[in-house]
Amino acid sequence: MAVAPDGASQVAGRKLARLGPWSGTGAEAPLLWGQCRGSAKDPYRVMIDTSRPAYECTCPSRKFPCKHALALLFLWAEGALEDRGARPEYADRWLHREREREREGAGVPAAQAPEQQSPEQQAAARARAERRDALVLDGMAELDRWLCDQLDAGLARAATDGPAYFEQIAARMIDAQAPGVANWLRSMTGITVTGADWPARLLGEFARMRMLARAYQHLERWDEPMRATVRAHIGFTVAKDAVLQTEPVRDTWLAVGLHDVDEERIVARRIWLHGRHTGVAALVLLFAPHGQSFESNLVPGMVIDADLHFYPGRPRLRALPGQRFEEWMYAGGWSILGRTVAEQCAQRAEALTRDPWLGLWPGVLRGSLARHADRWCVRDDEGALIAVRAPETTVWRLLAATGGASVTMFAEMSDTGINPLSITDREVTGGGLVVL
């Protein structure tokens, strides 16, 4: 993190970058805000304008930016500030003052509130966006060079250099305001101890990452959905309000799976939904600090009659629930068509052509648990096999629930196989949803 005034501040910022001492955090490009509990009676108010960048904190520290501002940047980089709450008044006031100051310096006249922006204000907003684009563009060019350098020098260095191998370039990506890429790089820390084939996997990751860097460098070549996809992987956030203004998809949505990912300071919850009438799959992402509950009460087995608003990009997957009309627990009776392995893999392959950086993809398979060459697989009704890549407990729950019978499985699909999340079948589960 190049903006840190010294190493001590960087360390202190890292330590504070957990949601425990924070409250009222949020992000709405280009502004980040939050209140951090410190030694004073009242929490410190922290505000960051990532477009310039500019920092403000009510703490007495003489360091600039202070550890609180650095911590807020870390949280933002980790996705912990995404789409959170309305912008508080104090942050608005500060941003307004900053804009005034900026205009005074540039001789631009005073502006009104953001929602009533004048053409000049809109121009200023565009200028800020252009500045960030320029920062990211520089960052992607640097990433491209770094990736090529690694191949020239040899990937074996990843094993000898330890975490620093990824950390330095990840910190650079934070400075370049590409937190999605920074997270991706950090997720590779430790790849060298995950099996003998790590160089092959690392090379695949680097190749895909370079594709992303190149895609951003030539954004003008793509259509709007692809641009949105690339920007989402880089780490550009989309304001919740903007998502909620998109055309909704109303359906009766069954929550078919829930998967918590324990990250360093937060827990990310993936909730997979299946639309009864549209057959559409959707992913709702929630975030919560360790030990705290999530905002939503959506759990597998729950059905909501609701509007879903999809984030831009393709394929359509991540969504925000909008207006809810009704909710109840699933009691069966739906006609849910489970696909064969070939059909489901073809559907995922099609999704990958739209988004080559796609991670998990929701699958609905019809099949049974089987053993092949000492590995667990799902065998569809035509005999085709796909590897099961699931926690051991999931495998035993699936075998206990089915006894080897064929059922409809809702699963997360990855490059190496499927992770069954829940099953349903008229006979085996009595029509209900059994969560694994």
Binding site: L147, C148, D149, L151, D152, A153, G154, L155, A156, P199, A200, L203, G204, F206, A207, R208, R210, M211, V341, C345, R348, A349, L352, P356, S368, L369, A370, R371, H372, A373, R375, C377, R379, G383, A384, L385, I386, A387, R389, T393, W396, R397, L399, A400, A401, G403, G404, S406, M413, S414, D415, T416, G417, I418, V434
Partner: protein
């Protein structure tokens, strides 16, 4: 042809070290060289194509395999409400509650419902006491899971096959002892012969364990060899116990002869009738016997009292009327002279009671001999209903030490439970209160009209409890509530 392995190898050591021919990539990859690209850029472009192919594959597996099929179930599944309660019990790791439920399920021929099977097997894997209870209620689905998971194979282990010589040759000590015991049921002499053949090369610990397995199929034919073993100090106690189970054995005959020589009954006329008194003559105990025989019979060393109890411990309970004109239970109540103050032959008689699983003698002994009220082996023969007065005695302040032992080993009667609650509320309790609360969790009756869970929850209203005791009281109350709930829910199927 350049494959992905070649590309990876070059990238791993560095393109500066190893060149790679990208013109030789598989044509189906669709790689088109960019003339302006640096070598590293070209390699990353090619790697992206390989990566895309790998990702699209998505974990598909080539080959065929048969579906797994579970055998049909023969027992009905646990009723749904009971299954839901048992989920809670397993989640909270309330082993005593689970154990009782598993026993109840076996009695009612109910199997575990499918979702419970992995969780119950995992918990039983950690708690050996649960393991024997799980196998009978697994059902076909559970056995299928155990067949596929080596961690749970213990639940479906077949009884030891005495025809399988591999177990005897290469098994663990426990497996070999089980094998020997199984062979004793079929061919006692053959089993004895197998043990005798390896006796010289077995360690002392293994000899003891394997000799114990010979309790199965014991007969007079074993006596000569067991007699020989009485000379080997390391195994003599086990051998002596085995020979003492043979009523006509020479050891028992010698012991009875010693009793006749060294113990007699006198009767005193006291108020209430003639009371027998056991008169022991230590000087006659070894008269006429050579030191070796005394040693083999366990009578050569130790204090006089210990030697007399060893002697009494060798005599079957049924022999006493013929020897002294008193049965063993009456003997336990006799005054004893000649062995010192407060001395008696209770410990010797207790060994006999345990060996013979003689409940009548055991009940008599724990009532008459205070020192035996903590003997767990003896108490295991005494039903709870026969302990009520003893527990009332143990709950008096001066006898608290005995309370945990007397309260262990079964479900309390309503009377005992009421006494315990009164005791816990009285404030006259001591450091054993925590232990008794632990026992209450599994021993309080759940078929009573009295809600003992509520009684335990209310204890803090009567006496001050330490935080640990308070936690134990509430924990025990919850266990009792769950036991009561499960008992109703499991039985509910029968009432429908």
């Amino acid at each position: 042809m350049t494959g992905y392995a070649d590309v990876v190898a070059a990238a791993t050591v560095g393109l500066a070290q190893r060149r790679i021919d990208l013109d030789a990539l598989p044509p189906e990859l669709g790689y088109v060289a960019d003339p302006g690209a640096a070598p590293a850029e070209a390699v990353l472009d090619a790697a992206a194509l390989f990566d895309a192919v790998r990702r699209v594959d998505g974990g598909r597996v080539e080959g065929t395999t048969d579906p797994i099929t579970a055998a049909p179930e023969t027992w009905p599944a646990l009723p749904e409400p009971a299954a839901a309660t048992l989920w809670h019990v397993v989640g909270e790791r309330r082993v005593e509650v689970l154990a009782e439920a598993l026993e109840s399920m076996r009695e009612r021929r109910l199997r575990l419902s499918a979702p419970l099977i992995p969780a119950v097997l995992d918990l039983a894997g950690e708690r050996a006491s649960l393991r024997p209870l799980v196998g009978p209620v697994l059902g076909a689905r559970g056995r299928l899971l155990c067949a596929h998971n080596p961690r749970w194979s213990w639940a479906v282990e077949e009884p030891v096959d005495p025809r399988d010589e591999q177990v005897w040759e290469h098994g663990s000590l426990a497996e070999r002892a089980a094998w020997l015991g199984a062979l004793r049921t079929l061919d006692p002499a053959g089993a004895r012969d197998r043990l005798q053949r390896v006796w010289a090369v077995e360690s002392a610990g293994h000899r003891t364990a394997l000799l114990r397995a010979c309790a199965t199929g014991l007969s007079p034919a074993d006596e000569p060899w067991l007699e020989e073993l009485l000379d080997t100090p390391a195994v003599a106690p086990v051998a002596r116990d085995l020979v003492a189970r043979l009523p006509g054995s020479r050891l028992v005959a010698r012991a009875e002869s010693r009793v006749r020589a060294s113990i007699e009954i006198t009767r005193h006329l006291l108020p209430g009738g003639r009371t027998p008194e056991l008169v022991c003559h230590p000087e006659r105990l070894d008269a006429g016997l050579d030191p070796n025989t005394l040693a083999t019979d366990g009578l050569a060393t130790g204090e006089v009292l210990e030697r007399f109890n060893n002697l009494v411990g060798l005599v079957p309970s049924g022999a006493w009327p013929g020897l002294l004109g008193l049965d063993a239970a009456a003997l336990a109540g006799c005054r004893v002279t000649g062995l010192g103050d407060d001395a008696g032959v209770g410990p010797g008689l207790a060994r006999v009671a345990v060996r013979e699983a003689n409940a009548e003698l055991a009940i008599r002994l724990v009532h008459l001999v205070v020192g035996l009220r903590e003997d767990a082996n003896l108490l295991a023969l005494v039903p709870m209903a026969d302990r009520e007065d003893l527990i009332a005695w143990a709950l008096r302040p001066v006898h608290h030490d005995r309370a945990p032992a007397l309260l262990s080993g079964g479900t309390w009667t309503e009377s005992i439970a009421t006494q315990v609650v009164r005791w816990l509320r009285s404030g006259e309790t001591d450091r054993r209160r925590g232990r008794v609360l632990q026992l209450a969790a599994r021993a309080m009756p759940v078929d009573s009209r009295i809600d003992f869970a509520a009684e335990l929850r209310d204890i803090p209203l009567y006496v001050r409890l330490s935080p640990t005791e308070r936690s134990a009281a509430f924990g025990a109350a919850l266990s009792i509530t769950l036991r009561r709930k499960l008992a109703h829910e499991i039985a509910d199927r029968e009432h429908r």
